[in-house]
Symmetry: C2
């Protein structure tokens, strides 16, 4: 045990869990469209269990995304329906706020999850055991703390996976949940072989020239309205062809107009192949309700992040959007 | 003292330094075009000295940049020539690799700097005392370690300033110097009142429209060379007028070309008012030594981050830079 005990409620139960799983095959489930915290937590828990004599494997309905593939090493990952899928005696979920987040395989597992490890406030505690801490920035933070509390050996792939989970779920140490514990755990993960620069290289330095060209075109399109409180950027469908990109590569562009001091609502309007428009709206404060604007176009989302689709011609659509946004930023 | 001693060579000398400065007025100099590590280190050292009875103030040839103003609090900052500039009995430099980095005021101070605190590998040790650690990611890291080693009281502004210095000089925890010590110190700075989310809000969500326009012009200027392993972007002096910005607002632009998968060296070339050029070079790996390229133009820096100034006409300068970079990325 280190001097600092990170998760005194959970850590004493970890050795008991591992003892009870000896000789069993265990599935460690992640959620649909897995992110860094999901994959990092799966990699780490599977590797630690395997190293402690438990035949664990990771399973996700959707495949590991391209930008996280470098972090899984030789950890066994499967998708439901894989011909060589092992038969699991027990199932654990990580980073899933509900059992349905694992996808269509949820039904037969209802009531049978032996452990849910999570940090989402909406988690009802659907496992037989639940290690849920909503003040943790990441599920990987909880696992890292438990492993360090228990003096569990972590190999370099495990440490890096946990680091990536923490780094991605804190917005690379920018979100409010970035705590003393987050930094303290990261310092210890580095001792076990986590490499921040290599993680950042995989996460942030693998961009394509085309994506940067698409970003340039998006930035050129920015329009400011309503005393610079509204900023709208456009992606024409032809831009994907011009830059050799596809829609997935515009991910995160709306953060650029959002970074402007005066901007209260940032909008990314993307022209679809059929000429209709897809809108993404972001506000900086929950009191500026972009979900209500999205709802006016038949869409939805959260107070600060919402989206919609629209088949109106651009001039009419833009006038209507600006009219609704003026009300929103003046509220 | 904490359990971990961060800077055993420097920390024992800090109480002696402070004792010798009692009753004296001390100037804490930063470098030209001060960045987050420079300002953060100045804020922290000035505040700690003042809290320990030394009449310290911060001084910079160039003003505190707009995006760092929120972090200085009531720390006294001056520029040379200020009518109310205190008369300093002693001078200290922070984050200055040479004395000339403080600007035109260097000459009368030559041989008289009582202490240089720095992490640049090119620092010759021009102070009477030199606390130089080239393995540290930031000068603020060295100061944070010394203060914690010595059990010095840090107020929240001091802790936040040191956090900002470390966060900015590690590329927000992305560069290779991001170490166990970096994270361990950050965890302790949070205990003293550093607020990562507030720092990130000031650093990343307070952009001006002009800066985004300047970024757009910079991205439009990007050129790829040597099989896309080298990317060069240009900022013409006229762009500042066009966008209502100044030189300080181009900070960080070089990270955009650096994010491209194929790019091994990214360069930002900025035209000065007098028609000369300032170059900032970034590589992704210490084995790609951009400091050597900068040195060929009389500049310096770190293996992965270096800079220089050049008075050659653009065509000749660009040809020479590309020739040197071809060798560097092929090494």
């Amino acid at each position: 045990m280190s001097e600092e005990v990170y998760y005194p409620e959970f850590s004493p139960h970890f050795p008991t869990l591992v003892a009870g799983l000896q000789g069993k095959t265990v599935a460690v489930w992640g959620h649909l469209r897995p992110d860094g915290d999901c994959i990092g937590s799966q990699v780490a828990l599977v590797r630690v269990l395997r190293n402690m004599g438990v035949d664990a494997f990771a399973i996700n309905t959707h495949a590991v995304p391209y930008n996280l593939g470098a972090f899984i090493g030789d950890t066994p990952f499967y998708q439901p329906g894989s011909p060589d899928l092992p038969v699991a005696a027990e199932s654990i979920t990580v980073d899933c706020s509900t059992l349905d987040r694992i996808g269509a395989s949820a039904a037969p597992l209802r009531g049978k999850i032996i452990l849910a490890v999570d940090h989402h406030i909406s988690n009802p505690g659907f496992g037989k055991q639940n290690w849920i801490d909503t003040e943790s920035a990441a599920t990987a933070e909880i696992l890292a703390g438990i492993f360090i509390d228990c003096g569990v050996h972590m190999d370099a792939i495990t440490a890096q996976a946990l680091y990536v989970g923490i780094a991605t779920d804190t917005g690379h140490f920018r979100y409010p949940a970035t705590s003393h514990r987050v930094f303290s755990l990261c310092s210890q993960l580095l001792d076990s072989g986590a490499k921040p620069a290599e993680a950042a290289h995989e996460l942030f330095e693998k961009e394509s020239i085309g994506r940067l060209r698409l970003l340039t075109l998006f930035l050129e399109s920015l329009e400011f309205h309503h005393d610079n409180r509204v900023c709208i950027g456009f992606i024409r469908h032809s831009m994907f062809g011009e830059t050799g990109t596809d829609r997935s590569q515009a991910e995160g562009f709306v953060d650029f107009p959002r970074s402007i001091d005066s901007v209260k609502v940032a909008a990314l309007i993307e022209e679809q192949a059929d000429g209709s428009f897809k809108g993404s709206l972001r506000s900086k404060r929950p009191s500026v309700r972009v979900d209500q604007v999205a709802a006016a176009f038949g869409g939805g989302g959260h107070a600060c992040a919402a989206g919609f689709e629209c088949r109106l011609p651009l001039p009419g659509f833009k006038a209507e959007l600006l009219r609704l946004l003026e009300k929103t930023v003046s509220a």
